[in-house]
Amino acid sequence: MRQDSLLSIHHLRTRFHTYEGVLTAVDGIDLEVYRGETLGVVGESGCGKSVTALSILRLLASPPAEIRGKVLFDGENLLQMSLDEIRQIRGNSISMIFQEPMTSLNPVLTVGEQISEAIKLHQGVTREEAWSKAVEMLRIVQVPSPDIRAREYPHKMSGGMRQRAMIAMALSCHPRLLLADEPTTALDVTIQAQIVELMERLKEEIRTSIVLITHNLGLIAEMAKRVAVMYMGKVVEEAPVEDLFLEPLHPYTHGLLGSIPWIGRKMKSGRKQLQEIPGMVPSLLEIPDACRFHPRCSRAMEICRKEEPPLVQKNGRRVLCWLWK
């Protein structure tokens, strides 16, 4: 562990005990988040990226979820804490932004109430103080006439406005770590840009670290410093963002990059088309043996079908693939 590591995840494994069998959504991942940095986590839906975030704060119902491994936050293992201790962390040192601003806010409570209850809880201030801090937070996230908006219910606000309110809520206690799970996915493109800009600015002001979970590589390129690529519950590649985009090592990353329309990318002889990763993500109940990407991999070798791929470390990058052994 390096000196400035804020969150360090060791062999995190999250399984769900379902009627059909045991579903391993996160399969022994290791991740480090350093102070002040933004770590991007990408992958297709169902790859375990959201479950990772929910596992960190232990927001999964257990049973059926079973979380194993270590999640060290400032050196303390979140998974070993009592419920009261983890509640002290939630919304205070670590907070979360969710994908759907439409459903993530409670429809029967005013926006101001929803922001101020966290402030009141964690900062031990009175109702009135918490309320004025909540209004202040709304002002910071650039909600117009925040004192009026605070008294309103979520259904009166647009999606972008609600996501601003969510951000205000998440940042109201100046968390040291923000878990942003698809924060812009549900928004219009223009609103997305505003929210990204807002998050960037606030990140500097509050000096918080961010784990940015998304399937949007454009967003990663814009915000993240390092990227971890997940596939079926495993981190298959981790690299500084420029390296990853310039030279993806894992065939899956290659596929992901190949499937984005890249405006401004040079079209080689004008006929290079968008590449798609062949096949579908298999069910987590039918995880392929050995390398779990091999059925869809264009560069699969004999060994990929027989043995688990090794973790290869190379120039500060990590990749889980036989190609680089």
């Binding site: 769900f16 009627y19 059909e20 839906s45 959201s50 059926p64 969710f98 949007n216 499937s259």
Partner: protein, 296 residues
């Protein structure tokens, strides 16, 4: 391009897994319950069919020498105020209650099904008229409506069936109309209409089959309610009249002897309870099996 255009990402896989687990569990458990319910109904059916074999003799013949006797070898459930065997009357009472259950549901279906179909299929003024009548009837919930109808029609077995039956009509109309409305807009119905198929044919061939599942569920639950309502009327003395052995009426007359012979009122109530339980359990079970919204 499968992933990048997809906006609805499954954000919370644990929830899916979780709810799937729960549904499976519920289904398994409920079906055991449904099985128990069907067995209960079957037992009552057998009792009703074999009544003369199970209890030879006339269950309504009084024997005043033996009135209000406690349970004994001769009369396992004791005797009532007229010295009649309570067991015998409960056995014959199952005939009355099942007859009521079937009759009530028939009345409800015969009136409610066509009106619901017409209301949902044709819409417009007909629908408006039928719906206002339904609204009005629904302002008198269930038992009160049956009570009001008895006040007009009078007491007795036939009038009990008609009154309770009509009190269920609005429920059937609502149910059938709702299903019809949703099926009417389906492409295959519109196609049939475009081809010039007669309304009657469309109603019977396309719409009716889709209405069958909810109707079956409602019918099972409705039979339980019918027994409860009819027993309630019998208990009040405005339902099936003595000496016909009806469980509710038996309870009603047993009420006067609670102090010295509580068994007279106790056993008919247990008979009602298990019959209604049987219909409710199988209704719930049928819902799990037939209702697509509950399917995995």
């Amino acid at each position: 391009m499968h992933e990048m255009t997809q906006t609805q990402v499954i954000r919370n896989p644990h929830r899916q897994a979780d709810s799937q687990l729960r549904r499976r569990w519920a289904k398994l458990r409920r079906n055991k319950a449904a099985l128990f319910g069907s067995v209960l109904i079957l037992i009552y059916l057998i009792i009703a069919l074999l009544a003369p074999i199970l209890f030879p003799g006339n269950p309504s013949a009084p024997n005043l020498m033996k009135s209000l006797e406690r349970p004994s070898m001769e009369h396992p459930l004791g005797t009532d105020e007229l010295g009649r065997s309570i067991l015998g009357r409960i056995i014959y009472g199952s005939r009355v209650s099942l007859l009521i259950a079937i009759g009530v549901v028939m009345v409800g279906l015969l009136v409610g099904l066509p009106l619901g179909l017409i209301s949902g299929y044709y819409g417009g003024k007909v629908d408006f008229g039928i719906q206002r009548v339904t609204d009005t009837l629904l302002a008198f919930p269930g038992f009160l409506l049956a009570l009001a109808l008895v006040a007009v029609l009078g007491v007795g077995l036939k009038n009990t069936i008609i009154s309770v039956g009509i009190s269920m009509v609005p429920i059937y109309i609502r149910l059938v109309r709702g299903c019809t409305l949703s099926v009417r807009e389906q492409t295959y119905v519109e196609a049939a209409r475009a081809m010039g198929t007669r309304d009657m044919t469309i109603l019977i061939r396309h719409i009716l089959p889709n209405v069958m599942a909810p109707i079956t569920i409602q019918t099972s639950l409705g039979m339980g309610t019918a027994i409860l309502f009819a027993a309630g009327l019998g208990f009040l003395g405005i339902g099936v009249q003595p000496p016909t052995p009806e469980w509710g009426a038996m309870l009603g007359s047993g009420r006067a002897y609670l102090f010295n012979a509580p068994h007279v009122a106790t056993f008919p109530g247990i008979a009602i309870f298990f019959a209604v339980l049987g219909f409710n359990l199988s209704g719930d079970g049928l819902r799990d099996i037939l209702d697509p919204r509950f399917k995995l």
